[in-house]
Symmetry: C2
Subunit: 248 residues, 2 copies
């Protein structure tokens, strides 16, 4: 699926004001005259930290049939969920989350989304910065899984972790130097969130500190570079194994 | 790393006769005259089922500094191991294998190799046909893991499975419609091989039939399209968990 696009000054401005759909980028033709509306759009975009690009006419070629007035906004193909809404949602069962701290590769994100859906994870939390966003490539790589799980976007992962803990969730971070193995934690009688780090940097120190547990995958080789989606798969299916065994 | 290349009639012929290094493809210039040696090379290549391509001069541009005589063979960057040699190799511990039945995506193969190395799998078996081969892309995607695990290439997976069973190995195939879950098998007191199927087709019927166990990953969603490397990761780290827990 393509990124969706909003055309024309009024539509773009409304999208900016309502904030309902995530705007990835605003493209504006170099050839149009700046007027009050355009200035207002620029101002709003700046306030919200949305990228604003001046581009040549050719960029608008694909949208020639629409009355785009020389301005379009590329919006995210998915709607993000608010963490508060997720937490408050009543559940009969214990729930689980996966928190991604700086995952940069779109294919990894797609594979992670598929894995989470298959393993019955209830949501995925990503930060609004320093993490790959859910774009059309991710959507494609996820093979449609993206439509089966809420994606929760937060400004601060540390605040999100604190909020989860305040709401009776347990937070487990992964780190290569942890003492405990991931399967030493009991996952079957609590709401839990697993934090996976960036491919190279791992989970940030502030998040490790904020977590209830820090666990590792026991590596059997000095070559210990496990792909983040494969690491997650090992852990998340262990949590599922425990839950299915105990029927909770 | 690039695919390695062998230049010139004599070297290509020797490589074909010795069979020590896997030849992926032979390229021959459209502009050279066919002689006895070229005919012999063609004959040997056909016997061994090696692709033989007539190409324009420009394909030889990168090798201009070598005396290529209008013929080059692209050889595999790795040396494959024979299954017999693998089986006979004495081991103090129980060993494990992963068998790939028709995995087509190079990135998946790279991720699978990394996962296997991290989880301490002792070897990977691939069929010589209908499976992605270990080329330079796989080598790159595996992030170097390829140098830490033997790759065993066999002409027939069914024969390989039979041979393993004859040598006191247990063979476990994965299939979405299996009754047992992968974690219901005890992996800690046997040599075992896990068969993973192609992304869409799964493990072939003849292999399912030849296996000792058929297991599934319990899917929690009607969307049940787990990436093959993530499926393997769930299973292989469960086998490791069991072994580390029981210390065998």
């Amino acid at each position: 699926m393509e990124n969706e696009v909003i055309y024309g000054k009024n539509s773009v401005m409304e999208a900016l004001i309502s904030g309902k759909r995530e705007i990835n980028k605003i493209l504006i033709s170099k050839n149009i005259h700046t007027d009050v509306k355009i200035n207002k759009i620029k101002e709003l975009a700046q306030e919200k930290g949305i990228v604003f690009q001046f581009v040549g006419k050719d960029k608008f070629q694909p949208y020639a049939e629409f009355n785009h007035q020389g301005i379009i906004a590329q919006i995210s193909p998915i709607e993000y969920m608010e963490l508060d809404d997720f937490i408050e949602k009543p559940g009969e069962k214990y729930r689980s989350l996966v928190i991604l701290d700086g995952v940069e590769d779109v294919h990894n994100l797609g594979a992670i989304i598929r894995t989470c859906v298959c393993a019955g994870v209830d949501g995925i939390v990503i930060p609004s910065r320093r993490n790959v966003q859910v774009n059309s490539v991710v959507e494609k790589t996820s093979a449609g899984a993206i439509n089966h799980i809420p994606i929760i976007k937060v400004n601060s992962l540390v605040n999100a972790v604190q909020k989860l803990k305040d709401n009776d969730w347990w937070v487990i971070a992964t780190d290569a130097s942890a003492k405990d193995n991931y399967y030493d934690v009991k996952y079957d009688d609590m709401n839990f969130a697993i934090i996976m780090g960036a491919e190279h940097a791992g989970v940030s120190k502030s998040l490790l500190k904020a977590s209830d547990f820090v666990v590792k995958i026991p590596m059997q080789n000095s070559f210990n570079s496990l792909n983040v989606s494969n690491a997650l798969s090992a852990i998340i299916f262990e949590t599922l194994r425990q839950r299915l065994k105990s029927n909770k």
